[in-house]
Symmetry: C2
Subunit: 332 residues, 2 copies
C-alpha cells in the first residue's frame, strides 16, 4: 500500500511522537545506570547497530493517544521493553552462534559469550526495575507474562530446528512467543498508561499481536530476499541455522517428492553453498512461496487494522494504521 504513490515514510509515522523518540537515546543511558563500562559498550553496540526501536515507537504512539500521558512512565516503559528486546537479542546470538546482526558483528563475537549472557541478564533486570518504578501491577503482569512466552518460544524454535515437518501452526506458535508476545505486551501496557478502558486495552493487545505476527513473517521473508545478500550472512541465515520458517514451510507444502528431496539434501549438508541457496530461491520463485507467505502476513495486517476501532481518531491512530502497512511494505 502506498500513499501518494510513495513508499510509506517511517518518519511520517513517527511524527506525532518525534520528540519522545529523539529523547530516547538519553533515557537509554540514564536508565542503564551501570558503572561497568563493558555493559555499556555491549548495549551501545546494539543500539548503534541500527535497531528499529519498534517497541518504543508503539509505546509512545499508544501512550500519546491520551493527551499528556507521555510522562516519565512512558519513557520507563519504552526503555524497559527495548532493554528486554535487546537482552533476548544478546542471548539469541549466543544460542544461534550468529556472526552478524544487521550486517554488524554480533556482541559475543567481539567480547565473547560471557559478557553477552551477563549483559543480557543485566538489561533484563534493569527492565524489571523500571517496570517496578512505574508501579502498575497490570503492566508488570503483562510484561512478565510476555517474557515467559518469549523464553518458551525461543525454546520451541530450538527444539524444532532442522525439522522440515514443522507445520504452519507450529511455526505460528513459535513466532507468537518469540516476537509477537513482547510487541503485544508493549501495546497493552502502553494502553494501561494511556488510561484506556479494558475493552480498548484488549483491542490494543490484539493489534500488537497481529502486528507482531506480520512483522516476524515479513522478517522471515526478508531472510530469503534481502538485496545484495551473502548467503548465511544477510540472506539465508535462518536456513543455515536450521530455522524452518514460513517461506520454507509453504514451499515444502507445494513441492513434489523429487523437489522436496532436493531441499532436504541441501538442508542437511554441513556446508551448503551459494548455488544450493540459489536452487532453493528458484524453487520458491517457481512455486510462489514468497507471495504465499506474504499473503499470510497480509491477513495479520488486516486483523491488526480491524482492532483499532476503540482508539480515538487522530494522528496517533493514523500512525498505528500506517505502521501496519509499513511492516508489510518493507518487503515490496
Amino acid at each position: 500500500m502506498r500513499e501518494n504513490g510513495m513508499m510509506i515514510d517511517l518518519d511520517l509515522i513517527k511524527e506525532p511522537v518525534k520528540e519522545e523518540f529523539e529523547a530516547l537515546g538519553t533515557y537509554f543511558n540514564s536508565f542503564l545506570q551501570t558503572d561497568i563500562p563493558i555493559i555499556d559498550r555491549v548495549f551501545q553496540h546494539l543500539i548503534d547497530g541500527g535497531g528499529k526501536r519498534f517497541r518504543p515507537l508503539l509505546v509512545f504512539l499508544i501512550a500519546a493517544c491520551s493527551p499528556g500521558k507521555n510522562s516519565e512512565d512512558a519513557f520507563r516503559l519504552a526503555v524497559a521493553v527495548e532493554f528486554l528486546h535487546t537482552a533476548t537479542l544478546l542471548h539469541d546470538d549466543v544460542v544461534d552462534q550468529s556472526d552478524l546482526r544487521r550486517g554488524n558483528r554480533v556482541a559475543y563475537r567481539i567480547w565473547g559469550a560471557e559478557p553477552s549472557i551477563l549483559s543480557g541478564d543485566f538489561l533484563y533486570s534493569r527492565a524489571f526495575n523500571l517496570l517496578v518504578d512505574i508501579g502498575h501491577l497490570g503492566i508488570l503482569e503483562t510484561i512478565s507474562g510476555a517474557t515467559t512466552e518469549m523464553a518458551r518460544g525461543e525454546m520451541l524454535q530450538l527444539l524444532r530446528s532442522y525439522s522440515t515437518a514443522t507445520t504452519q501452526e507450529e511455526y505460528l506458535e513459535v513466532i507468537r512467543g518469540k516476537t509477537s508476545s513482547l510487541i503485544s505486551a508493549s501495546c497493552k501496557a502502553a494502553a494501561y498508561l494511556a488510561g484506556f478502558d479494558e475493552p480498548a486495552v484488549q483491542n490494543l493487545r490484539e493489534y500488537g499481536h497481529n502486528l507482531g505476527m506480520s512483522f516476524q513473517i515479513v522478517d522471515d521473508v526478508l531472510d530469503y530476499t534481502a538485496e545484495k545478500g551473502v548467503f548465511g550472512k544477510t540472506t539465508g541465515k535462518d536456513f543455515l541455522e536450521g530455522k524452518v520458517t514460513l517461506p520454507l514451510i509453504i514451499l515444502m507444502e507445494r513441492l513434489d517428492g523429487r523437489e522436496r528431496r532436493q531441499i532436504l539434501d541441501i538442508f542437511i549438508k554441513d556446508s551448503p553453498e551459494d548455488g544450493d541457496f540459489q536452487a532453493i530461491l528458484d524453487l520458491m520463485e517457481k512455486h510462489g512461496a514468497l507471495p504465499g507467505t506474504m499473503e499470510v502476513a497480509g491477513r495479520f495486517r488486516d486483523a491488526a487494522l480491524k482492532t483499532l476501532d476503540r482508539v480515538p481518531t487522530g494522528p496517533c491512530r493514523k500512525s498505528l494504521e500506517s505502521l501496519a502497512d509499513y511492516v508489510l511494505e518493507r518487503c515490496l
Copy 2:
C-alpha cells in the same frame, strides 16, 4: 560452635518449617508451568543435584515468625527466589564453562549451552510472574533490585578474573552482588510477608546480607579444602577458572616476593597439575590463609546474629541464629 557437642543439625534448623520445606518440591513443579519437557528436565537436573534450598528455607523461617503467614504467597516467594538462583547457576555454568556442579555434570554439558541459557531465561521470567502474583510492590522492588546487583556482581567477577591484584574490598563487592544480594532480598521480602515494621524489615535485610557474605566466603574456603577433592572438579575449581577469592587474596597478602612469584607462575599456566595445587595448599597452610579467611566469615556471622533483636523470640528466630552458625560449621 556446637550444640551438645554435636555438629549443628540442619534438620533441627528446618524443624519449624518442616512441612513447608517438604511441600516445596510439589510447588516447584506446579509453579514451573511448562509444557516443554527439556525445561522441566534441565530444572529437575539441578533440583536433583542436591541444592541446599537455602533461600526458600530463609523465606519460610522469616515468614513463619508471624503465625499464619506461611500462605501461598510464602510458597510463591520461596519458589521465585529458588528459580532466580537456579537461573543464575544455569547461566554461570555456561559463562564459567564448568564441567561439574556438586559433583554432577552441569546441564549445559549434557544438553548444550542453548537450553541452559533459554531455560535460565524461562526460570527468570517465571520467577517474576510469581512475584507479580504476590502483588506487593515492595517485594517486587526488593527482588528486582537484587537481580540487577547479581548481574553486576557476576560481571565484576568476570572482569576481575586472573587479576591477582584484587583487593579484599573488591572481592567483597563481587560476592555482595553475586551471592549476598539475593539472600538479603529473600529475607527482606519474607519480612514484608510476615508483616514486620520497617526497622525490622531493614534488620532482616541486614541479617541476610551478613549471612550471605559468610556463606559465600565459606564456599570459597571449601573450594580449597573439600575432602577427596579432585583438582579443578570438586576442589580448586575457582583457582582453575581464574577466580581470585578471599583465601588466595589473603595468601597473596602474606607471601614474600619469591613465594608470590611461585603462585603467579602456577596461576598463568595453561594446565596446572595436582602438584601445583598442592603447592598452593602448602603455602596456605604455612601462612594460615584459610583460618584468616574464616575469621572474616566469622565477623559476618557475628554481624548477622546482632541484627535479629527485632525478631520475636521463638523457634524460628532460634533457627535463624543456628543457621548463622551452621554456615560456618560447614567448614570445620
